[in-house]
């Protein structure tokens, strides 16, 4: 290694080469398949959708692999690698190299995808704005991670805001969305000039992120004070004033509930709160909104807890949210508690977190609609409900829908516990990949549907295509029930949980599945096949075997087996 630049490049590549090769291999394979099916109109539509999904996944994966972050403590939540501060290299190079290499990796994947996957299909993807967008996203991410080394909540807040902007900001570059949205927001200039300003903003965002990162890393390297000390003081004061516990804990269970809540309980409400702030404040300041925009903003407010629960749930499933290490920390592992008690505390904290999040989302949305919204579209929606359902049904739907969103958000939070608590890194990564595939596919289908809304496609048109689905879902329900019976039997045999607690969880499951079933039955009274399918899906969605399995995998993780 002849220079620091090469040494850092080698380190980044050596650590992530498997991920990099995997991303490029996926794109190469997709490109080869698309080249083989080119000109075949039957397959090109499917190949295009699949191509988008694979490209997004490959970009996510590259992003996750090539960021330059390390925990200061053993496996701790990441920041700029502290060890490099001792190297005889100027700070600006220490900051510039990782940013540059990461950006190049992400750009390589995008350009390779645009060329290999889409050119054979005769589709030309834009290059300039996506490249600027990706570089901006990567550098902003590194800036946030490096700038708040000791404040996990500030980091989380920054990442939530940035994720919200990055996840949806690209839509402003799509001509049909841009034109409609600008007029909605009361922008009077031309879309071309707006786009030009956006491009300039993107081009400046990368250097700005570099500058801020350089300043912060320089401060950290030389032990200089953090400019946000008042925030730290406020945090400390709040913690002492409201979060301290003068009374001793009544039991060990209460103690771990407190610990888990302090560690992870706030994350989802804070993330959703940040998104609410980002959504509601600008839309309130931009002046009177139309009914369509009001409905759009409300939809986004109600979707965001689900989306964040899926993302945060991946970390929530680990033994320690803030730690990359999947092994249970010895401090916790040597406490005289069963694995069942640990998992139960997690489940309760997830429930409290979801309740707080939805309380916040509902409160903010009511206040926001009352002050800034337009009721036209909402009224139309209500009229439709009135047309289809009786008053009792409407009220039932409202109550059941509220419980359903709570149950589903909770399900997304705790869905990864069994795998995350197992301590098996490969299982965990595979599970994350599968989750990403499912969600990206779902989003791609939604985007495709909205792009082809002129196709007069109705739900009943789908039935001939999914006649096999009841069998699959029925089989899955039977498999799930069998697995649950075995799992809870094991939990009971190993005395991980009191039998009353097992019965209580089973009772909760029955209640949740019953509420979802009730919602489906009332919502779709006439379409029997859809109703029955959704009932099966409801039974599958509420975790039954998962928590028991999490207890078993945690016990194995705890004993290093």
């Amino acid at each position: 290694m002849r220079s620091p630049a090469l040494a850092i490049a080698w380190e980044i590549w050596h650590r992530n080469r498997v991920g990099g090769v995997a991303s490029l291999s996926v794109i190469g394979t997709a490109g080869l398949v698309n080249w083989l099916v080119r000109g075949n109109s039957r397959w090109t539509g499917l190949a295009e959708v699949t191509g988008y999904i694979l490209l997004v996944l490959a970009l996510f994966f590259t992003f996750a692999c090539f960021h330059f972050t390390e925990g200061r403590r053993k496996g701790g939540f990441g920041s700029f690698p502290f060890r490099l501060y001792n190297m005889p290299v100027a700070t600006h190079w220490l900051v510039a190299f990782p940013m540059l290499y990461g950006s190049v990796a992400v750009l390589t994947v995008y350009v390779a995808g645009a060329w290999l996957i889409f050119v054979p299909l005769g589709k030309t993807l834009p290059i300039v704005w996506p490249c600027l967008y990706l570089v901006c996203g990567f550098t902003q991410f590194q800036m946030i991670i490096w700038s708040f080394p000791e404040s996990r909540y500030l980091k989380l807040l920054g990442l939530s805001l940035a994720a919200a902007v990055i996840a949806f900001g690209w839509m402003f570059f799509l001509p049909h969305i841009l034109e409609g949205t600008l007029s909605e927001l009361g922008y009077t200039g031309s879309p071309a000039s707006f786009k030009r300003h956006l491009l300039i903003g993107l081009a400046l965002a990368g250097p700005a992120a570099f500058g801020i990162s350089l300043c912060r890393v320089h401060q950290q390297r030389h032990g200089m004070t953090f400019g946000l000390r008042p925030f730290a003081w406020c945090g400390e004061w709040t913690s002492r004033r409201f979060l301290s516990r003068p009374k001793p804990f009544r039991s060990a269970t209460q103690a771990i509930l407190w610990q888990e809540w302090r560690q992870t309980g706030y994350i989802l409400p804070i993330g959703v709160g940040a998104i609410l702030m980002m959504t509601c404040v600008p839309s309130y300041l931009s002046g009177p909104l139309t009914g369509k925009t009001t409905l759009g903003v409300l939809s986004w407010i109600f979707i965001s807890p689900f989306l964040l629960a899926v993302i945060i749930g991946r970390g929530f499933g680990k033994p320690d949210f803030w730690n990359q290490d999947l092994n249970m920390s010895p401090f916790n592992a040597v406490r005289p508690l069963t694995s069942g008690q640990w998992v139960t505390a997690r489940l309760k904290v997830a429930a409290a977190s979801v309740l707080l999040t939805w309380g916040l989302a509902l409160y903010v949305s009511f206040v926001w609609v009352a002050h800034a919204g337009d009721f036209e579209e909402l009224d139309q929606l209500f009229q439709q409900l009135k047309f289809h359902y009786s008053p009792q049904e409407r009220w039932s739907l409202l109550v059941l829908a509220f419980f359903a969103v709570l149950v589903l958000t909770w399900r997304f939070m705790v869905g990864g516990l069994a795998v995350g608590l197992s301590g098996r890194k490969r299982w965990y990564q595979l599970s994350n990949l599968l989750t990403a595939v499912v969600w990206v596919t779902l989003l791609a289908c939604i985007v495709w549907r909205s792009d082809h809304s002129d196709h007069n496609l109705h739900l009943y048109d789908l039935w001939p295509w999914v006649t096999w689905l009841p069998l699959v879902l029925g089989g899955a329900v039977i498999a799930k029930s069998s697995l649950a019976a075995w799992t809870w039997y094991q939990v009971d045999q190993r005395q991980m949980l009191f039998r009353q607690s097992i019965y209580a969880y089973f009772g909760c499951w029955m209640l949740a599945a019953g509420l979802l079933t009730g919602l489906v039955v009332i919502a779709f009274p006439h379409t029997a096949w859809l109703r029955n399918l959704l009932v099966l899906l409801a039974m599958l969605l509420v975790p039954l075997a998962g928590p028991g399995m999490a207890m078993l995998t945690l016990a194995k993780n705890r004993s290093g087996s």
């Binding site: 010895p330 592992a333 005289p336 705890r558 290093g560």
Partner: protein, 312 residues
């Protein structure tokens, strides 16, 4: 090497034929160990010898691949609550929740142990000079070690496990930790097992000692007996020797020409007979330090090690 006879009847920790493999590396090889109640048991060995792996098995943080581990007669993996509620543990990796304040950490840990003694905890906190309002992350390494020791001791555990407790600490903190160990032993019926590189520490507080080398138990017994069982002999030959004298009890041989220093293990009569057979005479004889014994055993080649047998 024959260790004293196996006796698990009064053992707080009973390990039999324990082996553990991490990939291709054999971390523990057929280790049998019995730690009697009320003893201070020192565990020594070089880095990577298997000390931490052994302690993790005792805590149930690793499941025995072969052999068995019993603590208070229970399997720590099958019954973690029954075992861990009676065990205090401090490791060289402090691994404390750094976001908690000291008082929060004490209150939190107290909830897990019905036998927590608040007066004793307060006494230790004062003795260690720990600020209850300080966040754990703001404490120095030595202070974090003291906090770790405090929460390991404050419920007066029947068994105290210390894994390299004074690693990387200054002499003052090391002294505090040793005093706490001695105090713990003074409480009737308490047992301490601690691993350390610092043999002067081990020598100061242990009454029993086990040495692990490359996953095998190579030395185990009462400390005074171990020391008595080793001799450093200075041998003089009539003619210069080209190679080190082939003495079967020798653990290490140094020297050249006519005079050689041999550190050996065995009965004195047997050693004298071996020396006579070699045609040499003993010109000096001393009891070696624990350091010398440790280095001599650690310096032996793997093939030269004798298989371990049960140790109590």
């Amino acid at each position: 090497m024959n260790f004293p006879s196996t006796s698990s009847a009064d053992a707080v920790i009973a390990i039999t034929g324990l082996s553990r493999r991490f990939g291709s590396k054999l971390a523990l090889d057929d280790v049998s160990l019995f730690v009697p109640r009320g003893s201070v048991f020192g565990l020594v060995g070089e880095n990577g010898a298997g000390k931490t792996t052994l302690i993790k098995h005792i805590l149930g943080l690793l499941k025995a691949e072969s052999g068995s581990v019993r603590v208070f007669g229970k399997d720590p993996v099958a019954d973690p609550v029954g075992v861990l509620s009676r065990v205090g543990y401090l490791s060289e990796y402090r691994d404390l929740p750094v976001w908690m304040r000291v008082d929060q950490l004490l209150g939190y840990t107290r909830a897990f142990y019905p036998g927590w003694d608040p007066q004793y905890a307060e006494q230790l906190r004062g003795q260690f000079d720990l600020d209850p309002a300080a966040r754990v992350k703001t404490l120095s390494q030595g202070q974090q070690a003291k906090v770790g020791l405090l929460i390991a001791l404050a419920f007066r555990p029947e068994l105290l496990l210390l894994d390299e407790p004074s690693s990387g600490l200054d002499p003052v903190v090391r002294r505090d930790i040793l005093e706490a160990i001695i105090q713990t032993v003074a409480d009737e019926g308490r047992t301490v097992l601690f691993s350390s590189h610092l043999l002067d520490e081990v020598e100061r507080v242990s009454d029993q000692l086990a040495m692990i080398h490359r996953g095998r138990l190579v030395l185990c017994g009462r400390l005074d007996e171990i020391k008595e069982g080793h001799r450093r002999l200075v041998l003089r030959f009539d003619a210069p020797q080209a190679a080190p004298p082939p003495m079967k009890q020798a653990l290490s041989v140094r020297g050249s020409g006519r005079e050689w220093t041999v550190l050996c293990n065995g009965e004195r009569s047997g050693l004298c007979a071996s020396v006579q057979q070699l045609g040499a005479r003993i010109v000096d004889e001393q009891v070696p330090s624990l350091d010398e014994i440790f280095v001599a055993h650690a310096g032996q080649k793997a093939g030269a090690l004798e298989p371990s047998t049960a140790c109590s």
